[in-house]
């Protein structure tokens, strides 16, 4: 005798109109998703001849014809693909192999703690350090020469800026391994690994076999998006390619970027076509990877059914460890080298260390670098704060709405990470010029905000949702409204994840290169743009100063975030 269910009537929200309940999502569409879409459109349209400011008013395929006439295009496209797939595949392999063989051991924890700080160092700093490390006249050679193992002049080996992009791939791996490892650990936190592993091992499988067969398939769905983001990024990176990538021809993204800045404005048309091509390449790389996923999972299934034959290999375990350790060693050595250079007075080829040290470069450069430092800090803090505010609003809204809201937000926020920056930054610049915001602080902060928001959201969403919902329910039942609960309860309890998310957003902003150039109209120099400009400048001492500052600034952010909240964290950890 059931009567039909009447739907839950809306709990009265008082005077607030319906639209305000979705205010956060509205804002997300307004200041984030729509502009990104406009940015893509603003890059696609000129690719087909439409750019009113330059007289392009009719559809035409001429830009594409021009694009295909650019010398070196096929090599550039191939380079893009191989760099993207190569970087992602090798980084993924290192992370998986390392975790499979070493997860749960002390060494895993140690290497992980060494890898974490690398996350906050901008790509450019790592690339500059790595370039110096492996150059024929670089640190490795100098140490060998000092030890007497290498004599004479540096060999004519293409270790940096080599034709095939190997140096570029290696340099990118140094940053992507820590990133993927972090994403994997986040995913691990949501999958019950301990018990599954125990069961699998009790069934007679080795740790690494159990990890590959049981844990990885459960983890992978959550790793998918980060992996695609790495694919898109490494296939289209410009700043690292300028430092480590080949020059004849350069990668597609570099070619396109140069096209956008050519004095002959008509080049913008084929550059836009090139940017579209870059978008397509990223998509293609993702599809190829997807295919690889299917193949890998099919073969994995067959192996499982066959009982997972094969014994654990010590060689594989050692290789995995060596891979991860090399990443840490190379990155740190490179960064140490640039720091050393900043204090160098003279460093000749034959010695492993500088002959004379001096503070002169720092004294000289600090006043000059101060401007870039301040700009970087201001932009970073502003964009991170803006991202934080919107993130908190979104997370609060998700609480009130259903699971669908959460998924919607996730996809909206993650989609731009899958787009190559060069694929839509020109459109963003056009949008800014038309709104007279190009070259202004607000335009620049907002452009950085577009890239900072996804990371802040990703960083904060898990801890936010993990907070016991009964706290909020109790407080509500004690008579406190939602805003009061947010301010007096949630924010204090989540101070640490909030500050960490802020520090992460800040670090992401510090490392941005293309956004500053496109949106800043040349009026703004940040530490990263300066470092790239100076990297080929012939004075490693000056570059060293800028790289050191690039490292220092985000690290300071994290140190503050963790240090300021340590006491409270200990307290609430005990109480929760």
């Amino acid at each position: 005798m059931a009567t039909a269910l009447r739907p839950l009537s809306r709990i009265s929200r008082g005077w607030r109109p319906r639209v305000l309940e979705h205010l956060a999502t509205l804002l997300l569409w307004l200041v984030f998703a729509t502009p990104v879409a406009i940015g893509v459109l603003g890059t696609v349209l000129p690719a087909f001849g439409i750019l009113p400011e330059l007289g392009g008013s009719s559809l035409s395929l001429q830009p594409w014809r021009q694009l295909f006439n650019v010398p070196g295009l096929p090599e550039a496209v191939l380079l893009s693909l191989t760099t993207g797939l190569g970087t992602t595949a090798i980084s993924f392999l290192i992370v998986i192999a390392f975790s499979a063989h070493w997860h749960g051991t002390r060494w895993f924890g140690r290497l992980r703690r060494l890898l974490s700080p690398l996350l906050s160092v901008p790509h450019v700093a790592i690339a500059i350090g790595f370039a110096f490390l492996i150059a024929p006249s670089g640190w490795i050679y100098r140490v060998l020469a000092a030890l007497g193992l290498a004599a004479g002049l540096p060999p004519d080996l293409s270790t940096v800026q080599d034709r095939h992009g190997l140096a570029l791939i290696l340099g990118l791996i140094l940053k992507e391994v820590p990133f993927l490892l972090l994403m994997m650990l986040v995913a691990l936190g949501q999958v019950r690994v301990g018990e599954s592993l125990t069961i699998a091992r009790a069934l007679g499988h080795s740790r690494s076999a159990a990890w590959q067969a049981i844990v990885l398939p459960q983890l992978y769905p959550q790793l998918r998006l980060p992996i695609y983001a790495v694919l898109a990024y490494s296939a289209s990176v410009v700043d690292v390619a300028l430092i480590l990538g080949p020059t004849t021809p350069p990668s597609l993204a570099v070619l396109v970027w140069r096209g956008f800045h050519d004095p002959d404005l008509n080049q913008i048309f084929w550059a836009s076509a090139g940017a579209c091509l870059q978008l397509l390449i990223a998509l293609f790389a993702i599809l190829l990877w997807r295919l690889g996923e299917l193949v890998a999972s099919a073969s994995g299934r067959r192996r499982i059914v066959a009982g997972w034959p094969g014994r654990p290999s010590r060689i594989a375990a050692s290789a995995a460890f060596a891979g991860a350790a090399l990443v840490v060693a190379a990155a740190m050595a490179g960064l140490a080298a640039t720091l050393l250079w900043s204090f160098t007075k003279s460093w000749t080829i034959g010695s492993a260390m500088p002959e004379a040290l001096t503070l002169a470069t720092w004294m000289q450069q600090l006043p000059v670098a101060l401007k870039a430092l301040t700009a970087t800090a201001v932009i970073g803090i502003s964009s991170a704060m803006a991202a934080l505010l919107l993130t908190i609003a979104l997370l609060e809204e998700e609480r009130r709405e259903s699971l669908k809201a959460r998924q919607r937000h996730y996809w909206l926020l993650y989609a731009p990470l899958l787009l190559p920056q060069i694929g839509f930054l020109f459109g963003i610049e056009t949008l800014l010029v038309r709104s007279d915001l190009d070259g202004t602080w607000s335009g620049l902060v907002w452009t950085h905000f577009l890239f900072v928001l996804p990371y802040v959201y990703l960083s904060l969403s898990e801890p936010w949702r993990a907070l016991d919902p009964r706290y909020e329910r109790t407080a509500r039942c004690l008579g406190r409204g939602p805003l009061a609960v947010l301010v007096t309860l949630k924010l204090p309890l989540l101070v640490r994840p909030i500050l960490v998310a802020l520090a992460l957003g800040f670090a992401v902003s510090v490392g941005q290169y293309l956004p500053t150039l496109f949106a800043g109209a040349g009026r703004f120099q940040t530490l990263t743009t300066e470092a790239v400009a100076l990297a080929a400048g012939g004075d490693r001492r000056v570059v060293g100063v800028y790289t050191a500052l690039q490292m220092f600034l985000p690290a300071l952010g994290f140190a503050l975030a963790l240090g300021l909240t340590r006491r409270r964290f200990q307290r609430s950890e005990a109480g929760v």
């Binding site: 059931a2 706290y471 039942c477 008579g479 007096t488």
Partner: protein, 232 residues
């Protein structure tokens, strides 16, 4: 009778699926304790969430909730004056004991001295005099549980819900604490709805026991099987 907690033809479910349980109607008078029992997954906790107004929006529900004659079904949780106690004490870890209690004290109690006196009086009730400045993590489980009750009562609710509040306590503590809760709630003439697995709780409650029958089973039973007894 217009006082007490009244639930009128309540039912819950996920869209596109049959409801979790048959329509439930019950009434709890002031100082009365209705015990709600049912199998795991029968929707007891969801029902409590529905009563407090913190149900996940994915559910659809129907029915009416009246507290002291006032229809609160459309009100947000903070205006319903329905308190809730969980298994865990859920004392806010970033506030001291005194601050936790102050959080609950209505703003209508104004003046620092008056508020302090009310808090001190509450603590005295729980034999916790002088605990105002203590960090909740330094209290024992039993002490924290008492603070949680005092906090809920300080908010001057018109009804109190208990979601298996004694399950985490060991045997020795359980009956002592149970008595504490029931005594104080009855002293404020609060109607109570308690979810519990422990028959001893039901016995101590000395009130009606309602079984939340899953919808599917209820097809076999008659419509009057839902409330086993119904106090008027």
């Amino acid at each position: 009778m217009s006082s007490g907690l009244v639930l009128d033809a309540a039912t819950l479910g996920l869209p596109g699926r049959p409801p979790l349980f048959r329509e439930l109607s019950l009434r709890t008078g002031p100082g009365e304790i209705v015990t709600l029992i049912g199998r795991s997954g029968s929707g007891k906790s969801s029902l409590l969430a529905y009563l407090t107004g913190t149900l996940d929006p994915i559910f659809i529900a129907s029915g009416q909730i009246r507290v002291d004659g006032r229809d609160v079904s459309q009100l947000p949780p903070e205006r319903r004056r329905i308190g809730i106690l969980f298994q865990d004490d859920l004392l806010f870890p970033h506030l001291t004991v005194g601050e936790n209690l102050a959080y609950a004290l209505p703003a209508s109690v104004s003046g620092r001295r008056q508020r302090r006196e009310r808090i001190a009086a509450a603590l005295a009730e729980g034999q916790l005099t002088g605990f105002e400045d203590r960090d909740p993590s330094t209290l024992s489980g039993g002490q924290r549980a008492r603070v949680a009750v005092l906090r809920a009562l300080l908010a001057e609710p018109k009804a109190l819900l208990l979601d298996e509040p004694f399950a985490r306590l060991d045997q020795a503590l359980r009956s002592q604490f149970r008595t504490f809760v029931f005594e104080h709630a009855r002293a404020q003439a609060l109607p109570m709805l308690m979810v519990s697995h422990d028959p001893a709780d039901a016995v101590a409650a000395e009130g009606p026991v309602v079984e939340l029958a899953p919808f599917a089973d209820a097809a076999a039973a008659s419509s009057t099987a839902a409330p086993r007894s119904f106090n008027r």
